[in-house]
C-alpha cells in the first residue's frame, strides 16, 4: 500500500459491465466530474459474470458496499444474460438481509448509470447510504467459499 493513506470511508467496489456501466464511468471522466476517490471498478464483459462469492469476498476484504452495474433489462448484448444475473443478485440481496449483513451492502444498478451524471449520482447517493450503516460484522468472512 502507498503510505498510510486511508481511503475516505466508505469503500465501494464496483463490478461494471463494459457497456452501460463503463460508458457512464467514462462519461463522468470525460466531463471531469468531481467524485470521491472511495470506489474501484473491476470491469467485466457482462454483469452476469459477477459471482455472489466475489461479492462476499469484497465485503469481507474491506469494502463497505458493492455495486453491480449492468445494462438495462432488454439491453444486454449477450442474449439477455443479465436477466439471470438480476434474478440471482436480487435473491442474493434477500440472503444478505436474512444474514443481517443487510441488503444495502449490494446495490444493483442495471441501466441507471449510463450517462456521466447518472454514474456520478449513483456513487454519491450510495456513499451517503453506506455512511449511515454500522460497520460489517467480521463473521462475514466465514461465508466465503474456499476454492
Amino acid at each position: 500500500m502507498v503510505e498510510e493513506t486511508t481511503v475516505r470511508e466508505p469503500k465501494i467496489l464496483i463490478f461494471a459491465c463494459r457497456w452501460c456501466g463503463l460508458i457512464g464511468a467514462d462519461g463522468a471522466g470525460k466531463k471531469r466530474m468531481s467524485l470521491p476517490a472511495n470506489f474501484r471498478i473491476i470491469p467485466v464483459e457482462c454483469a452476469a459474470f459477477v459471482e455472489t462469492d466475489a461479492i462476499i469476498r469484497a465485503l469481507a476484504s474491506g469494502s463497505d458496499g458493492v455495486i453491480v452495474m449492468g445494462c438495462h433489462v432488454g439491453g444486454c448484448r449477450f442474449n439477455d444474460a443479465n436477466h439471470a444475473a438480476i434474478k440471482r443478485l436480487e435473491l442474493f440481496q434477500v440472503l444478505l438481509e436474512a444474514t443481517a449483513i443487510g441488503k444495502e451492502r449490494l446495490l444493483i444498478s442495471f441501466g441507471t448509470a449510463h450517462e456521466g451524471h447518472q454514474f456520478s449520482d449513483v456513487i454519491q447517493n450510495y456513499t451517503t447510504v453506506l455512511r449511515e450503516l454500522p460497520p460489517i460484522d467480521p463473521w462475514i468472512s466465514t461465508l466465503s467459499v474456499r476454492r
Partner: protein
C-alpha cells in the same frame, strides 16, 4: 513469477498533474511480479506504438500492463496498434487511470494516487494470473438451408445462388411460391403475382445451385454457425444436409375470423384472401363492397398491426372500381396505415378514384345487416358523429397475418425465441434479420407481417448476411464476438470438479453448454461449444463447484484483485 512490464502514461501531464506516478513507480519496484516500469509521455501516437512494441518484444516480458486512458478514449487504439505490431493481445492489460481516476479526482490528489496504485496493482495481479482460452477454427460450409419458398425464401435462394453458393430450399407445400400464389395482384404497383413469381420460379428450377424440396419438414438441427447438420424429410424421403447457415422464411397464415362479423354464418362475408381468389378469376363484377379493417387485429388478444391489410384493401378496392366504374366501395377503418411516400400516394389515388373511407372507433364496432345474405354494414362514423348504413352485397374482412404454429417448434429446435404472438425475434435495432443464434437468419412474414415486395427485399438482405458468413471460408471461435474485435475468451470446464449438475446448461443464453455422459464414471460432465460461447460469464456465476471458469478472468485473479482493491 510472471514478468510483467508496466507502462505508466502521463498523457502529457493530464494524469500526473493529479496522480503522482513516481510514487507509484517506487512501489511497483517492490512488487515481485513487476519486471520493470516506465513512465511515458504518451502511448497512443504512432511513433509511440512502434517504439513500445519493439521494447516489449525485445524485453521478452510475458505480460504488459498499460496504465493510461480508458478503452473508450485512446486505450483501445493502443492495444490494437500494439497487436498490429506483433505483440500478443492476450498479454496486454489496460488500466484506466485517466478518465477513471485522474480526471474525476482532481480535488483529491492523495486519494487519486492511492486509487491509481490500487488499480495498477489489481491489473498486475489479473494479468499475472490470467490463462489463455483455447481457440478453434472451423471451415464454413458453403451451403445454405432456406426454410420456406415464399417470396422471401425465393428471393434469398436466388440471391445466394447467384452469388455463388449452394442452396437447399424447403417448403412444406408441393410447389414453391408461398402465399403469393393465391394473390391476384400485389401492391403498390399492381403487378400480376404470377408474373412476379415467374423469374424466381424459373431460377429455382433451372439454377443448378438450387435444390428445391417440396412437402418438406425439418426433423432435427444440430451444430453451430458454419457447420449445421440438418435432417429433414421431403415427400416421405429422409435426407440430411450440412449447411453453413440457415434462413427461416416460413411466412405466416391468414387469420380466419370465425365468430366475428357473422363470418361463416352469413353469405358474401369473406376474407381478403378469398377476395383475391375471386379477383384472380376475373369473372365477377361487384357492385357494393364494404371492407372492414382491423378484424381480429389491434385488439387485446392480438395487439399488433398487420402492416398489409390497409394497402391490400385499397388495392382491391381500386381493382373493383376499375372493373366496374359504377361500383360503390367503402373502407371502414380505425386508422389508415399507409406510412411513407409510396403508400400515402396510393391512398390519395384511391380517394380520388372514389373509394370511400369511413372511420370507426374501437369501442363502437360496425355491425352486419342481413341474415342469409349480407345486406349492409352499419357503422358509427366517428368523424361526422352519425351512424351510417352502407349498402353491401359483399363484405370483405381484413384480418391479420398470424404466425405459423410451427414457428415455436422450429424455434425450440434451433434455440431461437419467438415473441408472444409467435413471430421470430430479432436483434434490435441494427440487425433486424439476425437472431440470438449465430448463423440463423429470419426474413419475411415469419419475422413480422410484410408485403411481398418487402418480403423480397428482406430475402435479399438475409442472403447478404449469409454471404458475409460463408464468404469467410474459415472462422475462428474468437471472431464470433458480440463486441467489435475479438472475443474475450471461452468458458472452460475443469473436468475434475464438474459434477454434471446442469446449471450452466440451463442458464447459458447461447445454448453453448451441453452435458456429456461419461459412462465409466456414471456421471455427466459439461461441455462448452466454443463457437457458441461468448464468455458472458453466466455459467461461471452459477457453477456450484467452481468448475466453470473463463480463463482470462478466472477466480484466482478475481480474488487477488479484490484483495488489492483498497
Amino acid at each position: 513469477m510472471t514478468d510483467v512490464r508496466v507502462y505508466l502514461c502521463r498523457c502529457f501531464s493530464e494524469v500526473d498533474r493529479t496522480v503522482d506516478l513516481e510514487r507509484i513507480q517506487e512501489r511497483l519496484l517492490q512488487n515481485a511480479s513487476v519486471a520493470s516500469s516506465t513512465i511515458v509521455d504518451s502511448l497512443c501516437l504512432d511513433s509511440d506504438i512502434q517504439r513500445v512494441a519493439a521494447e516489449i518484444k525485445e524485453s521478452g516480458a510475458e505480460r504488459v500492463v498499460i496504465a493510461a486512458c480508458s478503452t473508450m478514449g485512446r486505450g483501445d487504439s493502443v492495444i490494437e496498434g500494439l497487436a498490429e505490431e506483433g505483440v500478443d493481445r492476450f498479454a496486454i492489460h489496460l488500466i484506466d487511470i485517466r478518465e477513471g481516476c485522474a480526471w474525476i479526482h482532481q480535488d483529491e490528489p492523495e486519494g487519486a494516487t492511492f486509487k491509481a496504485w490500487n488499480l495498477i496493482d489489481m491489473g498486475v495481479s489479473l494479468v499475472a494470473k490470467k490463462d489463455r482460452s483455447d481457440d478453434v477454427t472451423i471451415r464454413v460450409r458453403p451451403e445454405v438451408l432456406i426454410i420456406g419458398a415464399g417470396p422471401a425464401g425465393l428471393a434469398a435462394a436466388v440471391m445466394v445462388a447467384k452469388l455463388g453458393y449452394t442452396v437447399h430450399c424447403l417448403d412444406r407445400a408441393a410447389h414453391p411460391g408461398g402465399m403469393l400464389r393465391f394473390i391476384s395482384r400485389s401492391y403498390p404497383n399492381d403487378e400480376d403475382a404470377v408474373l412476379k413469381l415467374a423469374p424466381y420460379l424459373d431460377e429455382i428450377h433451372n439454377n443448378a445451385r438450387i435444390a428445391f424440396y417440396p412437402q418438406a419438414r425439418v426433423e432435427t438441427v444440430t451444430g453451430f454457425a458454419g457447420n449445421f447438420t440438418v435432417r429433414f424429410s421431403s415427400g416421405g424421403q429422409e435426407r440430411w444436409i450440412r449447411p453453413g447457415a440457415i434462413i427461416i422464411a416460413t411466412g405466416a397464415m391468414v387469420y380466419l375470423p370465425h365468430g366475428l362479423y357473422r363470418y361463416g354464418e352469413t353469405q358474401n362475408i369473406i376474407t381478403q384472401m378469398e377476395l383475391e381468389r375471386r379477383l384472380q378469376s376475373e369473372s365477377d363484377s361487384i357492385q357494393n363492397a364494404v371492407f372492414v379493417q382491423c378484424v381480429g387485429a389491434r385488439i387485446p388478444e392480438r395487439p399488433y398491426c398487420s402492416t398489409i391489410c390497409c394497402p391490400a384493401s385499397i388495392k382491391n378496392a381500386m381493382r373493383i372500381v376499375e372493373k366496374n366504374p359504377d361500383a360503390r366501395v367503402s373502407i371502414v377503418h380505425r386508422d389508415i396505415m399507409m406510412p411513407g411516400s409510396i403508400l400515402e400516394d396510393y391512398y390519395r389515388r384511391a380517394m380520388l378514384q372514389g373509394v370511400q373511407f369511413v372511420r370507426y372507433r374501437d369501442d363502437m364496432l360496425p355491425a352486419i345487416k342481413g341474415y342469409e345474405q349480407v345486406r349492409a354494414v352499419e357503422v358509427h362514423d366517428s368523424i361526422t358523429g352519425t351512424t351510417r348504413v352502407l349498402d353491401a352485397d359483399l363484405v370483405v374482412l381484413s384480418t391479420p397475418l398470424v404466425p405459423n404454429p410451427d414457428n415455436r417448434y422450429l424455434a425450440d429446435m434451433l434455440g431461437l425465441q419467438c415473441d408472444r404472438y409467435g413471430f421470430f425475434r430479432e436483434i434490435y435495432p441494427l440487425h433486424p434479420l439476425e437472431t440470438r443464434m449465430e448463423g440463423i437468419f429470419i426474413c419475411g412474414s415469419a419475422r413480422w407481417p410484410v408485403s411481398s415486395d418487402q418480403a423480397i427485399v428482406q430475402g435479399e438482405a438475409a442472403a447478404m448476411k449469409v454471404i458475409s458468413l460463408l464468404g469467410k471460408g474459415e472462422v475462428a471461435a474468437s471472431s464470433f464476438s458480440r463486441v467489435p474485435g475479438q472475443k474475450f475468451g471461452h468458458a472452460t470446464v475443469n473436468p475434475d470438479r464438474c459434477t454434471g449438475c446442469g446449471n450452466c446448461v440451463a442458464v447459458c443464453p447461447f445454448d453453448a453448454c451441453t452435458l456429456q455422459e461419461i459412462e465409466e464414471k456414471y456421471t455427466y460432465i459439461s461441455r462448452v461449444n466454443k463457437m457458441r460461447c461468448k464468455a458472458c460469464g453466466n455459467c461461471v456465476a452459477v457453477c456450484l463447484n467452481g468448475a466453470m471458469q473463463v480463463p482470462e478472468h478466472n477466480y484466482r485473479a478475481v480474488v487477488e484483485m479484490i484483495k488489492r482493491a483498497f
